[in-house]
């Protein structure tokens, strides 16, 4: 995606990316009831603006690490939708061949390295990846080749179909780590920030603060203070903003990614948002009463898609008929992707023990 100009020419593209994630998640939720996607699934409905606003500044050479709620991060980075769906069904064509499910996604060609569900687990990995990128650039690790494992022919075909975007030789690849407010309580979070600041790593920390760790509110877990200020105290350049405003996320990310890319060290963004569905699963759960009365309804009024749609219409950047066509095209893409995934093959039982050791 090209940079958004002052007239917001790419707002439509940002909207499109958010809408795509929303419609994919909704389609998953709808079909989840069929009991064929048999893995714990954490949907990101309500939080789409963050993944989209950040990834708009990334190339395929930049890398992303994510967590249990990773579908949006994966799709925004260019992860293959079909292989995501096949993974949820447990088919061999899934992005992890059925070994991972919703909580373990990867698409190396797109620069989406991995998501995993141990909270904080991928945070230091992102730090290490950024460290390696820095060493490769400085020449400390000359001759260092990426250590990819074996791939199947159809995987290679998928990867050949994508081309890395050209980069200037002086630019550094940036690594992004997405995590939540709960993760900020983990020790490795602070261990990684410390090392990242020490080494001035090209690393962007993105804290999606949705105020809940599963169902436990922030106030029961952390004292009253701003998360991003703790990051600043670690020596990171840190800022916070409205995670439901894709324009604000885009603007904050533009500066943060540029800083990380040009050797100014690790960046930290705390973005406020809210998860609409239950922590894990396809339903809403407001009746459980762990959210304040009206809290979810208020956040729904601040829907990132709704706000952007209105802005597109107000600024005459789009019109109803174009947005209707956009919906139709997405519905078609998602249906095709499900059809592709459902034609997947069962992984052979004989293959269950493979790939433990290189």
């Amino acid at each position: 995606m090209t940079a958004m100009n002052s007239a917001g020419a790419d707002l439509k593209q940002l909207y499109y990316q958010m809408l795509r994630i929303r419609r994919v998640e909704q389609a998953i939720a709808e079909r989840y009831q069929q009991q064929e996607m048999r893995c714990p699934t954490h949907l990101c409905i309500g939080e789409e603006a963050i993944a989209v606003g950040i990834s708009a500044h990334l190339t395929t050479q930049d890398k992303v690490f994510s967590n249990h709620r990773g579908h949006g991060h994966y799709l925004a980075k260019g992860g293959d939708l079909r292989r995501l769906l096949a993974e949820l069904y447990g088919f061999a064509e899934g992005c992890c061949g059925g070994r991972g499910g919703s909580m373990h996604l990867t698409d190396l060609a797109a620069g989406f390295i991995a998501s995993t569900p141990i909270v904080g687990g991928t945070v230091p990995l992102a730090g290490g990846y950024a460290w390696a990128e820095q060493m490769k650039k400085s020449g400390a690790a000359q001759g260092c080749a990426s250590v990819a494992g074996g791939t199947t022919p159809w995987m290679e075909e998928v990867e050949r179909s994508r081309r890395p975007e050209p980069r200037t030789p002086e630019a550094t690849n940036v690594v992004v780590i997405f995590f939540g407010d709960g993760c900020f309580e983990e020790g490795v979070m602070h261990e990684t920030m410390n090392f990242a600041a020490l080494k001035k790593l090209p690393l962007l920390f993105v804290c999606e603060n949705n105020q809940y760790s599963v169902m436990t509110p922030l106030a029961e877990r952390q004292p009253e203070r701003d998360i991003y200020k703790i990051a600043a105290a670690h020596g990171l350049q840190a800022a916070s903003g409205d995670g439901n405003s894709v324009e604000q996320v885009y603007a904050l990310a533009q500066a943060a990614v540029a800083n990380a890319r040009t050797g100014q060290g690790p960046q930290f963004l705390e973005l406020h948002t809210h998860r609409w569905p239950e922590h894990c699963g396809p339903n809403e759960d407001d009746e459980l009463g762990y959210r304040s009365p009206g809290e979810l309804a208020d956040w729904k009024l601040r829907c990132p898609l709704l706000q952007t749609r209105q802005a597109l219409l107000d600024k005459r950047l789009s019109d109803e008929s174009e947005l209707t066509a956009m919906e139709a095209s997405l519905a078609d893409e998602i249906e095709q992707a499900f059809q592709w995934a459902l034609r997947g093959s069962r992984p052979s039982i004989d293959s269950m023990g493979l790939h433990l050791y290189a």
């Binding site: 070994r99 230091p124 730090g127 060493m135 250590v147 490795v188 410390n194 790939h355």
Partner: protein, 356 residues
């Protein structure tokens, strides 16, 4: 062509790290104390000067985070070697080792891998105490996806380190501190080991002594004295834990019919149980009598040398058990006497004067 040099186990590790840094430009050597004036018991001496501070470096005291950072660097194509001066500190990184390093290649369907070496040292003596002397090899060896090696000789120390660096899997490289001073032959031209297989340290027909790490040295001491009294013990060094080379022990007991297993670990935390279980399932018919197990007591080691000196079984206990198994109890007194040393029991060798 053989290219044999005699050096200590510790020197062999330094030599392997040096050769690794030369052969693999993507290798990084990191750990608390790696470039400090004491250089991990001199095993990293001169390496920062030779390869630079970017590749040979100290680290923040953040074992779990730094293990994850090394895993991330490995995913990006580096070959980190992460050192803990005591294995006890590696417990802080069990999350990253077990949840990430061990499973990464598997859970991402072979598309990614983790070429990582975790180098850990097991302490003993001079009051190392409950948290500087643990034997955790069996715990780590229980995790599918990790490779665990415990080299005993200088030659294996060299080759296992170099082969672990070259390996595209996470390898836990366990060194017993009391092996560091022991001299041995290192043949740099011997073939790669694949980090599998036991080593036959001594041939003999009367009884099989299968031992782990420093206990293999104690078994050799016992066998040397026993030989003077007509008992010919075979010593098999169980230097690779994943998988255990059960076949080598089976071949030996098919000849001797008697087995004693000696591990440097509390009995419940011993790899001996795994070895005995596998042997019994497929080769139990070779044994003429039940096997013996020599291991540490099932409690932590205390710091005070007045107690700790009685914690560790060694060559005397191995020899006494062998003589019992062979029904040669009358030899016990003389053999025990010959095995006794005037070296203080909490020291590995005469040059050692503490504190680590």
């Amino acid at each position: 062509m053989r290219d044999v040099t005699v050096m200590s186990y510790g020197e062999a590790i330094r030599e392997a790290l040096d050769d690794g840094l030369t052969q693999y430009p993507e290798m990084i050597l990191i750990g608390e104390g790696v470039p400090d004036p004491k250089t991990i018991f001199a095993t990293t001496q001169g390496l920062r000067e030779k390869y630079g501070a970017e590749r040979v470096l100290d680290m923040p005291l953040a074992e779990n985070g730094m293990t994850g950072i090394c895993i991330g660097a490995a995913l990006a194509g580096m070959r980190p070697v992460l050192v803990h001066q005591r294995i006890d500190f590696a417990l802080l990184s069990v999350d990253q080792l077990v949840n990430n390093a061990a499973k990464w290649r598997y859970m991402f369907d072979g598309q990614q891998q983790v070429p990582l070496v975790i180098r850990v040292i097991v302490g003993r003596g001079w009051g190392q105490g409950p948290q500087h002397s643990q034997s955790l090899q069996a715990m780590f060896a229980q995790v599918p996806g990790l490779k665990v090696v415990m080299p005993t000789t200088a030659g294996d120390a060299y080759h296992f380190m170099l082969d672990a660096i070259a390996d595209n899997n996470p390898v836990l490289y366990i060194e017993h501190r009391w092996l560091h001073h022991i001299q041995g032959e290192v043949d740099k031209n011997s073939p790669r080991t694949a980090l599998t297989g036991a080593a036959l340290l001594r041939q003999g027909g009367d009884i099989t002594l299968a031992a782990f790490s420093h206990m293999s040295i104690e078994a050799l001491k016992a066998a040397t004295v026993l030989a003077k009294h007509g008992v010919d013990a075979e010593v098999v060094d169980m230097r690779c834990l994943t998988p255990l080379d059960v076949d080598s022990v089976a071949r030996s007991i098919s000849k001797t019919g008697l087995l004693l297993v000696a591990d440097c670990a509390p009995e419940t935390a011993s790899m001996a149980h795994k070895l005995l279980s596998e042997l019994f399932q497929s080769h139990g018919q070779h044994l003429r009598q039940p096997p013996r197990l020599i291991a540490y007591p099932n409690h932590p080691v205390p710091t005070s040398h007045f107690m700790a000196n009685h914690y560790y079984p060694g060559a005397e206990e191995i020899a006494a058990a062998v003589l019992e198994m062979l029904d040669k109890q009358p030899l016990k007194q003389i053999v025990t006497m010959e095995l006794q040393s005037d070296l203080a029991k909490d020291l590995p060798d005469r040059s050692f004067a503490g504190p680590f």
